[in-house]
């Protein structure tokens, strides 16, 4: 495998993502509470393997999940097949690009969770995504997205950051050792995270996968100007999913905005 394989562009990393992200629950209650306020239908961009769209649909909302990766969507569909028939009618899964989509429907709430918006590296892509969101919102509809609050001490380190090695049981209970390194480009405000997973398969053969993941990192006011430039009004900024106010040490920046069009 080429070392420049993008994360989630193959079946294995999609399965790994589904397995590793399954326990992430802290944000689901937050997105559900927004759905309660904004009403359906709900659209999630970059829905991945359905970690959020499935519980939102289970709660009774009509939901559309959009993702670029057929591998991620295949897993989401597999999980959906195990759900009650009535719920399956609530959830539509669509393969598509979050920076340019046309679903011919208007939504009460659009969610861009788990830092997915950061996969849009250029201002043109970011604008195109937000303009598509504005076109797909009902009057007064709500857009909510979360990005990480960049750690200045990580950005400041010359030569990038070696990630702490991690060991965990993979989807087939294989013992995976994961190492990684992140480089920051301060001029373009982007990072490249290279990760490497190693394990021994059942036959005892050593397996190695290597991936790259490129993300843009946003600063607080940058995101406020981005939203404003694309005709959104920022209604709230939270520092975490418990709706705590944003501070310098907050792990997240969660923006809730309304279309001003």
């Amino acid at each position: 495998m080429s070392p420049d394989t993008e994360l989630y562009d193959d079946g294995w990393s999609a399965e790994l993502y589904d397995f590793v992200s399954a326990p992430w629950k802290s944000d689901v209650a937050f997105w559900l509470s927004l759905a309660e306020q904004a009403g359906d239908p709900v659209l999630e961009l970059a829905c991945g393997t359905g970690r959020i769209v499935l519980p939102v649909a289970r709660a009774g909302y009509r939901v559309t999940g959009l993702d670029r990766s057929p591998h991620m969507l295949a897993i989401a569909r597999r999980k959906l097949a195990h759900e009650a028939v009535a719920m399956r009618d609530h959830l539509r899964l669509v393969e598509g690009d979050m920076s340019g989509f046309d679903l011919n429907e208007r939504f009460g709430l659009i969610i861009i969770a788990a830092r997915s918006f950061q996969a849009l590296l250029t201002r043109a892509q970011q604008r195109s995504c937000l303009e598509a969101c504005a076109r797909h919102l009902k009057p007064g509809g709500c857009l909510a997205l979360d990005v990480f609050n960049p750690s200045l001490s990580r950005l400041a380190r010359a030569g990038g950051v070696d990630e702490t090695p991690d060991e965990y049981a993979g989807p087939g209970e294989e013992a995976i050792r994961e190492t990684g390194h992140t480089d920051y480009d301060l001029a373009s405000q982007s990072l490249r995270w290279r990760s490497r997973q190693e394990w021994h398969d059942v036959a005892g053969t050593k397996q190695v996968r290597e991936y790259v993941c490129d993300l843009h990192y946003f600063f607080r006011f940058e995101m406020e100007w981005t939203l404003e430039a694309c005709s959104f009004e920022v209604e709230a900024l939270y520092g975490n999913f418990d709706r705590s106010p944003f501070t310098a040490d907050s792990p997240e920046m969660i923006f809730v905005a309304r279309s001003a069009r």
Partner: protein
């Protein structure tokens, strides 16, 4: 004197400004070139004591300088009075707020040199300033803004700046010591600056004021300019028009009114 005296309201700071800013004007050639290329009038926001306004007028530009400080403008007027009549005739100095100003003329070029834009701490004032700029530009007119590129490796650890020593306007020896505090959530830095002053007769005293600045990141400024009706034409990392990189000391945005 209150330790919360703002540098912009401090008459003492105005008298000392030219002596303090021992900058060999590395930005002037760029602004001179831009002024020579631009049709119509030039407007400088936060012109201070005329460091940029006066040389541009000397090379033939018709320049308006706006500043919020009457003390800074008094120094600029004193310097202007020493210029030849034709230079004096090309300069208009106006006391005003860069975030809300109204002038009778449109301009071909607006300059906001030397981090003055960073005195605008909140987005409403930043927007106010840029919208005023757009209103005062001729079609196709250009805006140049210089802010510092946040020095992240220092930002995370900086508590005090290097002491700065200079000779004041009356020959006094001055040593300036800054205590710097960052607010990373609001992207501001506050310098409490203490000046230890020794007069030529050997008497000592001290003076204090506060300088509060917003720091900006690259993409933030680009979005801000777009949101306020500008298209970014160039971003330089230094005054020699070198390309902006992660290690650039400055960010100089040149934007055109859309």
């Amino acid at each position: 004197m209150s330790s919360e005296l703002s540098r912009y309201q401090d008459p003492w700071a105005a008298e000392h400004y030219d002596a303090q800013i021992a900058w060999p004007d590395p930005d002037l050639p760029l602004y001179r070139e831009m002024a020579a290329e631009s049709p119509g009038r030039v407007l400088e926001l936060a012109c201070g004591t005329g460091r940029v306004t006066l040389p541009l007028a000397r090379q033939g530009a018709t320049v308006t300088g706006i500043d919020i400080s009457p003390h800074m403008l008094a120094v600029a007027r004193r310097k202007l009075a020493a210029e030849p009549a034709e230079v004096r005739a090309r300069v208009t100095l106006v006391e005003g707020d860069m975030s809300k100003f109204a002038l009778p003329h449109a301009c071909g070029l607006i300059l906001i040199p030397f981090r003055s834009f960073q005195a605008l701490l909140v987005r409403a004032d930043q927007r106010g300033c840029l919208e005023c700029c757009a209103k005062h530009l001729l079609p196709g007119g250009r805006l140049a803004i210089n802010v510092f590129h946040p020095w992240l490796s220092k930002l995370v650890a900086l508590k005090s700046a290097e002491p700065h020593e200079y000779i004041g306007p009356s020959g006094e020896e001055v040593k300036a010591v800054s205590r710097v505090r960052f607010d990373f959530a609001e992207q501001t830095l506050t310098s409490h600056i203490t000046y230890q002053i020794t007069s030529t007769a050997g008497e000592t005293r001290s003076h204090e004021h506060v300088l509060r600045l917003r720091y900006f990141f690259r993409c933030e400024v680009e979005w801000m300019l777009e949101a306020c009706g500008f298209a970014v034409e160039a971003l330089y990392g230094d005054f020699d028009r070198s390309l902006f990189t992660g290690g650039s000391p400055e960010m100089i945005f040149v934007a055109r009114k859309v």
